[in-house]
């Protein structure tokens, strides 16, 4: 088994590009997402109609927004013409929202639903309204995390979990399939090595690499990108390494059903992408048809749930041991399956 571990590390050392993929690519992606999801400095542009209440207007102008006043064409108040003009303004992107006051309240019209601009516009209006009548002010606070933490901070655990699974999955799957393709596996199995040592060697060889990768990713996001960690850095690294170990085993297992490298890649939409949905990107409690239960079969779910508990909620081992145990179960099950699969090459 030691020989196999040494060999895998040597091969990686000789294959600079793959090594770079494992080390540089996650750091690149983390940095990119840090810039994309980090502190937003966007100032929304709001166009208000002339009949807008003056008090609200004054407060709105105090917010971080750019306010323009639309001339009232006077023909109609709620006629289709006005709406068409407003929509045209939105479509040509000269404003992000058109706000008008009517007897039944304030109307906000925007270009698209589910846009990050929506939140900044409504926040500005909500704050302005609160300043006008302080009694209607609402303040939101959380048990875990803070309202003003950036998306990068609150989703960082998803990135760490998914990235550590993804790269190791690809590399172990491809390297195992290559071993089959070139006939070295057959040759390996014609030596006295035990099947369990082959799988063990693979798991540990790639495990060591993924451990290095995990440590780098955690340290980089913590100390370079300044991601806020509530709990222990080491516990987070432990969870990531275990998740990477499951990725090695699943990668090797999947390669049984692949005849070449390209077919390994075809497993990404099947194995990795569905798991990403259960990584914490979508709140699992809200999923329809009991689909949330699927998460119990997904290692990324346990990895990310564990990371979330440690990084966001600041929990210790007493709260995450269940997730850790489940990852160990996955590692064990796929380890056994891989040992059995090698019977194809030698029954002994």
């Amino acid at each position: 088994m030691k020989g196999l571990v040494i060999r895998i590390l040597r091969q990686m050392g000789n294959d600079r590009r793959t090594l770079a993929l494992m080390i540089v690519a996650p750091i690149l992606i983390l940095s990119l997402l840090y810039l994309l999801l980090g502190e937003g400095s966007y100032i929304p542009r709001i166009a208000v109609s002339e009949n807008f209440p003056a008090a609200l207007m004054t407060e709105l102008q105090k917010q971080d927004v750019e306010v323009t006043i639309l001339p009232n064409d006077g023909n109609t108040v709620t006629g289709t013409d006005t709406n068409t003009i407003h929509d045209a303004l939105l479509k040509e992107k000269s404003t992000d929202a058109v706000v008008s006051a009517a007897s039944d309240g304030i109307h906000i019209r925007m270009l698209e639903a589910g846009n990050s601009k929506t939140a900044s516009v409504t926040n500005a209006l909500k704050n302005a309204a609160a300043s006008v009548s302080p009694s209607s002010s609402m303040s939101l606070s959380y048990v875990y995390g803070r309202g003003d933490s950036t998306a990068f901070n609150s989703l960082g655990f998803v990135l760490l979990g998914v990235l550590s699974f993804f790269f190791v999955f690809i590399i172990s799957g491809i390297s195992f399939v290559r071993e089959r393709e070139t006939g070295t596996l057959e040759r390996l199995m014609a030596t006295p090595i035990r099947r369990i040592s082959v799988v063990g060697g693979y798991t540990f060889g790639f495990g060591i690499l993924s451990a290095v990768q995990s440590v780098l990713m955690v340290l980089y996001s913590r100390y370079v990108l300044g991601m806020e960690f509530e709990g222990s850095v080491w516990l987070a690294i432990l969870i990531m390494v275990l998740l990477a170990f499951t990725a090695v085993s699943i990668g090797a297992f999947v390669s049984i059903f692949a005849n070449n490298e390209f077919q390994v890649m075809q497993f990404i939409p099947l194995v990795v992408v569905p798991q990403m949905f259960f990584s914490g990107l979508i709140t699992i409690d809200t999923l329809p048809y009991g689909l949330g239960n699927l998460s119990y079969f997904m290692p990324i779910y346990y990895g990310c749930a564990g990371l979330e508990k440690v990084l966001i909620k600041g929990f210790g081992i007493e709260e995450v041991w269940k997730d850790i145990c489940m990852l160990l179960v996955f590692i064990f099950v796929f380890f056994v399956l891989n040992v059995l699969a090698l019977k194809k090459y030698r029954k002994l």
Partner: protein, 240 residues
């Protein structure tokens, strides 16, 4: 160590690829498996490496029922495709397989040096295999096979794609190994190579059509070429 194959059959998905094969390979002899591609040569060799199990019949090596882990240690197997790690150096390939056979320390170093010398790759041992030529890869593959000084050599088409000069020198080395008391099984579809073997077994569509000393087999032919025996078998097959 002798290899005794008795009444071995092997099926792949209901197709019988080896039909009731009985065959012996003796110590100090080179047994040549001859036959067109698809005849079952590789399957037969893989049965003797332990990679496959016969569906019926049995294989004994040195009198012991095979496969068992002790006997596997005494076998040197050279697969048809090079089966070397191209992202390792030649030396690292040898060290890896040496460790798998339980070699370590001085013994490992000495064996790798000997093997590299044997195939004349000492100069290029630290180069990555991806930069080797086809012939060099073949020689490295052969070196891996001989690394642990096995008593039995199973060589699946060892000289395919090798130029005539190198081919001759490799066969001279097989001859030396034979004289030192090894049991050698070589598969080939090059009839000329058969004359360098003591025995030849002719496989045709999974059947053993001839199995005798090369000398006797040559006497059976009119042209003095073993190919004739396949033509006869082919005609017989058409006649049925």
């Amino acid at each position: 160590m002798n290899i005794e194959i008795s009444h071995v059959s092997k099926f792949f998905a209901k197709k019988e690829v080896l039909k009731d094969i009985s065959l012996q390979a003796r110590e100090g002899e080179i047994l040549c498996l001859l036959g067109p591609s698809g005849a079952g040569k590789t399957t037969l060799i893989r049965l003797v490496t332990g990679g496959l199990r016969p569906d019926s019949g049995e294989i004994r090596i040195g009198g012991q029922k095979f496969p068992n882990r002790d006997t596997i240690k005494k076998i040197g197997f050279m697969p048809q495709d090079d089966a070397v790690y191209s992202d390792l150096s030649g030396l690292d390939n040898l060290l890896f397989f040496g460790r798998l056979f339980g070699l370590s320390g001085k013994e490992l170093r000495r064996s790798t040096e000997d093997a590299l010398h044997w195939v004349d790759l000492e100069k290029d041992s630290t180069k990555l295999v991806s930069r080797y030529s086809g012939g060099m890869k073949k020689r490295l593959s052969l070196a891996i096979t001989l690394l642990h000084n096995p008593s039995i050599l199973l060589l699946d088409e060892p000289t395919v794609g090798i130029d005539p000069v190198l081919r001759k020198s490799i066969w001279d080395r097989f001859e030396n190994l034979r004289l030192s008391g090894k049991t050698i099984v070589v598969s080939t579809h090059v009839m000329d190579e058969a004359v360098r073997c003591q025995r030849a077994a002719l496989l045709y569509e999974g059947c053993l059509i001839e199995n005798d000393t090369t000398e006797n087999l040559l006497l059976k032919t009119r042209s003095g070429s073993l190919e004739e025996l396949f033509f006869t078998a082919h005609k017989r097959g058409e006649g049925l």
